[in-house]
């Protein structure tokens, strides 16, 4: 075998590039959005009830606030048949006109605030809304959670040097399957279930995309979640992160637990199957929250 001498000149111009293009988007009717995540801090006397009502508009524009005709939260513990022997009510009113933020009505004849002690495992919260001649309904069960054991900054990065790593440690409750939602601030959420660390102390890293400034304080919260809320956040994060491409999962409208009951008379119409396009966006959940703060080094 003779020696092969090869001189090779190869050019490798690897050009994966992005640019802004004009796209015509399909038009659609405005839709109600209910931003109704109630975080329960057990050390406080009352639950901080603040529900934002907005409407969708063109994709390229922000969601304008909207006013609802009525919004009421009912809560109680159902009996073994799933029925409520008694229900408590909290009627909501717009905090400042035009904001679309609804809080327990301060002008009501009685105190409409909800005590944190009423939020116990098993308590069911029901939200009923009337908006533009339509009725909406959501039902959720209070979800408790475990505290954050430790929060510290790491010094690794994953995809680029600008990332900031934080390491969160929690101890899973070993009794049953648990779901968690982490709020890292700045619209960064992460859903987690305990399937692979049941009953263990578990540490994981989260990477902020943009480098945070030294001295900046961040707040990380752990939120309780039932499976539905966990799935909702998981899907929402996925759809928010979805930047197209062949490896992405199919896009989907993330449907929450607030649904349209306008036509549901339980005489002729028992469900929404015949009108799949009538729905509200957003979610109503009442969950326990623990938070930790960290100052970025």
């Amino acid at each position: 075998m003779k020696k092969v001498v090869v001189i090779i000149g190869a050019f490798l111009i690897f050009t994966s590039c992005e640019d802004v293009v004009d796209v015509d988007l399909p038009e659609t009717e405005p839709r109600l959005i209910v931003d109704g995540l109630l975080r329960v801090n057990k050390s406080q006397e009352f639950i901080d009830v603040r529900i934002a009502m907005r409407e969708t508009s063109n994709f390229f524009e922000d969601n304008p606030p909207t006013q609802v005709e009525s919004a009421v939260i009912a809560y109680g513990i159902p009996n073994e048949f799933g029925e409520f022997d008694s229900l408590a009510f909290s009627s909501l009113a717009e905090e400042e006109p035009g904001t679309g933020i609804y809080v327990p009505d301060p002008n009501f004849s009685s105190d409409q605030r909800i005590r944190t002690q009423s939020a116990e495992p098993g308590t069911v919260f029901i939200l009923q809304i009337s908006h533009r001649d339509k009725s909406y309904f959501a039902r959720t069960e209070y979800a408790s959670t475990v505290p954050i054991d430790n929060l510290e900054q790491g010094d690794d990065t994953l995809f680029n040097e600008d990332e900031t790593e934080v390491i969160v440690t929690i101890t899973d409750n070993p009794d049953h399957t648990n779901f968690y939602v982490f709020d890292f601030g700045f619209g960064n959420f992460q859903a987690l279930d305990d399937r692979f660390f049941m009953g263990q102390q578990f540490a994981f890293s989260y990477f902020y995309d943009n480098e945070l400034e030294p001295g900046q304080q961040i707040r990380v919260s752990i939120l309780g979640a039932d499976q539905d809320f966990h799935n909702y956040i998981d899907l929402l994060v996925e759809q928010t992160m979805n930047n197209g491409g062949v490896f992405e999962t199919p896009v989907a409208t993330v449907r929450g637990n607030v649904f349209d009951v306008t036509e549901l008379d339980n005489i002729d119409i028992f469900d929404n199957v015949e009108r799949p396009n009538d729905y509200a966006l957003g979610y109503f959940a009442v969950v326990q929250e623990f938070s930790s703060n960290l100052i970025i080094q």
Binding site: M1, L37, N63, L158, E161, F259
Partner: protein
């Protein structure tokens, strides 16, 4: 009942043939390349006086039985010199032929290959062959000759884009292609997430793609069969060939261990590390390699054995915190045995394995998944006479599916080790396939495959209320995973569910004076495996899952008709085909389905259906300095998942449609639906030194989704959508060129070399791989961002052989 009629008429046809027996003798043998003894596939042995002939099979064997007499026979294989001789057939004769390459002798180099030529008479339709020489000439990205990317230039074949793995045939999904490498099933054909394919072009002998009219000897995938045979090794001389390219280098060694009897072949291909270095500014690696090793041994005139192995891996890592390895491993043993000069047999014992591994250091776990199979098959080819050939055989495959195993990557990781229950299955098939020339003008190929699939027991199996693993909320209109009510442990000895399918295949060809023909075919195929893939094209992480109690096998019915014509003695050919196909039980995923590490995948999938239809045109120029083809396909590919009939599950809703189905039960375009697909390939031989090639591709943009609006929840802004795949990306087109320089050879030197200069995407079209939407950080407004993968890419490859 129709099946019984079919068997009956089959018997009648056979009887008719046997009845006319008379004094006949058999001519049989093997046809090889003279300098290497490499057997040649598809060589024609024609008997002009009788207007009959035969072609060599996958192992170079031929056999033909004719009445006693003296005949002229012509052995021809384009690119090789014809052999013409007179033979006196007065006894059974065994005759091997060695063909010499034409280029060795002739002044003018004619680079055409017989295998791509149109066979007017054969009933086989919807089949495309591609010569290895053509694959090496077609300009491709970064100059890395690629089987799969070359196939995309054929009518009816497309893929989901530049960085996507697999290919789609006639509107079928990528997991519906049966890919056979030396008879062994290959589960993943891509390197580097689809930029390149796993086949080393130097090691390949023959490539054949069946898009329809699939003969009964194949089964298990509903869309197509891609059959690739690799070289067996040169049993005359020691040879080396290789190449150095912009992406990878190749080296292939072959030679005799015992001259004319035992030969080996060892090949390797490896890419350079850090291929994607420019993509991220952190330490990363991305590379792949392939190894091929083969030995063949001729025991005697009646027995040949072959041992071969393939091993390929991809490695992709980002700063050691994310490490990803995957690839195929295939080992097989084959034994060719001649029972008589008319009965050829091949026994294959095959092990094939696909492995996927992932380590995520920042979460503290390692993950692996994969599929293994053990395949035993026995195929016989029975050459009854010049009008009739029977192919029959049996096939057994045992599968082990590993949906995933997770384990901690270090002692201080909080991860608990878990093996997601492995699944097991056994697939059996027997078939008979008859190639029958009924009259001079009419020939048929018909057969039947009986397949049986046995989903074996496993350690843990969930039981659901009403046997329904997917629940539907009729208020929020969301499909949800049901909660199991019990777990049973059937064990591997038992059976969870059995399926049996009869798959008739029939195709017919009627030819007019041997110049043109009309062909028609019907194919039924069953596919028992499903690739769980929720993305536009498969990813290496996708896992295969067997049919079982909740997932039914995919069943295809395909009808095709075509018109075929050779013009000017085959200098040009024209073919057109129309097809319609319908697939039952195509699985679809509920919104937000999590397919990875899902313990019970039945909770996120529903059985839907798919259909595709289209029209294909192919015009080829086969002779002269300028050769090439123009292919155009019009097609439509859709799927839907209508509401289930809950009453069938025993759920009494008082109504039958208490569900919406996926996408509101409506038909939607599959991600690989391309309405128009045009490819032109041309190759021009200027002289012995220079060869020029070009291809142009135009395709309708891929279906996609654009948001109809957005909503805010807790500071997260998410888009929302209307019905699926209503929009399309901009049309795709590009032009690639290459020039091949073969420097004049110094007679004293044995090294032959060539330079391949190529430019991919010559006019640097920014084809959209995707269009997505995000907020502009400066203006706070949403904007549409187009991502395009390859701009203009020049490359140089150096190939050598000695």
């Amino acid at each position: 009942m129709p099946n019984r009629h079919f068997v009956l008429s089959l018997g009648l046809l056979l009887f008719g043939v046997f009845a006319q027996a008379q004094q006949k003798f058999t001519l049989s043998g093997t046809i090889s390349e003279a300098n290497s003894n490499e057997t040649l596939i598809g060589v024609t042995i024609a008997f002009p006086e009788l207007k009959t002939g035969v072609t060599t099979n996958e192992y170079g064997f031929y056999s033909i039985t004719l009445p006693e007499g003296e005949y002229t026979l012509v052995v021809s294989y384009l690119g090789f010199q014809d052999i013409r001789e007179t033979i006196n057939l007065n006894s059974n004769i065994k005759r091997d032929f060695n063909l010499l390459e034409e280029a060795e002798e002739l002044e003018e180099v004619v680079v055409t290959d017989d295998v791509e030529r149109l066979d007017i008479r054969k009933p086989q339709m919807s089949v495309n062959t591609m010569a290895v020489q053509t694959i090496k000439q077609i300009p491709v990205v970064l100059g890395e000759a690629d089987v799969i990317k070359s196939l995309l230039l054929l009518p009816g074949v497309s893929n989901a884009g530049e960085a996507s793995s697999g290919f789609n045939v006639r509107g079928g999904a990528a997991d519906q292609n049966l890919i056979l490498l030396d008879e062994a099933t290959v589960f993943n054909t891509s390197h580097l997430f689809g930029f390149f394919s796993v086949f080393n072009p130097d090691a390949i002998k023959d490539v054949k793609l069946f898009k329809g009219g699939i003969p009964a000897r194949y089964g298990g995938r509903v869309s197509s069969v891609l059959e690739i045979f690799q070289k067996e090794g040169n049993s005359k001389d020691f040879k080396v060939n290789g190449g150095i390219g912009a992406v990878a280098s190749r080296l292939l060694l072959e030679g005799p261990i015992q001259k004319d009897r035992t030969a080996f072949l060892v090949g390797g291909r490896a890419s350079y590390a850090h291929l994607f270095l420019p993509l991220f500014d952190v330490d990363n690696k991305a590379y792949f390699y392939d190894l091929n090793a083969k030995i063949n041994h001729k025991i005697n005139d009646r027995n040949n054995i072959f041992l071969s192995g393939y091993f390929g891996r991809d490695l992709f890592s980002i700063s050691d915190r994310f490490v990803n390895t995957y690839g195929n491993a295939v080992g097989n043993f084959r034994w060719n045995h001649l029972f008589s000069d008319r009965l050829f047999s091949n026994l294959s014992i095959i092990y094939s394995d696909y492995y996927y591994g992932l380590e995520l250091d920042f979460v503290g776990f390692e993950w692996d998944s994969g599929i293994q199979n053990f395949n035993l098959k026995y195929d016989l080819k029975h050459y009854i006479n010049d009008k009739l050939q029977l192919n029959y055989g049996l096939n057994n495959t045992y599968y082990v599916f590993n949906p995933g195993r997770i384990k901690p990557n270090s002692p201080d990781s909080g991860i608990v080790e878990e093996q997601i229950t492995k699944k097991y299955a056994n697939e059996n098939a027997i078939y008979i396939d008859i190639e029958h020339q009924i009259t001079e003008n009419l020939s048929m190929q018909y057969g039947l495959r009986a397949s049986q699939f046995n989903r074996l027991g496993q350690d843990e199996f969930y039981v659901y209320e009403n046997n329904n693993p997917v629940e539907f909320d009729p208020f929020t209109l969301v499909y949800q995973e049901a909660t199991p009510i019990d777990t049973i442990n059937p064990g591997r000895g038992g059976t969870l569910k059995k399926f049996f399918n009869l798959e008739p295949r029939i195709s017919a060809s009627y030819n007019f004076k041997g110049k043109s023909s009309i062909k028609a075919s019907y194919t039924r195929l069953a596919q028992y495996l499903h690739l769980l893939s929720n993305t536009s094209s498969p990813t290496p992480l996708d896992v295969w899952t067997p049919s079982g109690p909740f997932v039914d096998p995919q069943l295809l019915d395909q009808f095709a008709v075509g018109y075929f014509r050779n013009i000017k003695d085959g200098d040009y050919s024209f073919e057109t085909e129309a097809f319609y196909k319908d697939i039952q039980n195509r699985i679809d995923y509920i919104d937000g389905a999590n397919l990875i590490a899902n313990k019970a995948i039945e909770r996120v999938i529903l059985n839907g259906e798919a259909r595709a239809y289209g029209l294909e045109f192919l015009i080829r120029k086969n002779e002269g300095r300028l050769t090439g083809w123009l292919a155009y396909t019009w097609s439509k590919s859709e799927q839907r998942t209508p509401p289930r009939d809950l009453r069938a599950l025993g759920i009494d809703t008082g109504r039958s449609d208490l569900e919406t189905g996926i996408n509101q039960g409506q038909w939607y375009s599959t991600p690989y639906d391309k309405r128009h697909d045009l490819s032109v390939y041309a190759s021009y031989n200027l002289n012995k030194k220079w060869n020029f090639n070009a291809n142009f591709i135009y395709q309708t943009g891929q279906p996609t989704n654009y948001p109809v609006g957005q909503f805010e929840f807790e500071g997260l802004t998410a888009p929302y959508y209307g019905l699926r795949n209503k929009e399309r990306l901009p049309d795709y087109h590009r032009l690639d060129v290459s020039a091949i320089l073969t420097p004049k050879r110094n007679e004293r030197k044995k090294v032959k070399s060539e330079w391949v200069f190529s430019i991919y995407n010559l006019y640097s079209r920014r084809n959209a791989a995707s269009i997505n939407f995000r907020e502009n950080e400066d203006t706070g407004r949403n904007e549409a961002i187009r991502t395009s993968i390859f701009g203009i890419i020049p490359a140089v490859t150096y190939n050598f052989r000695f």
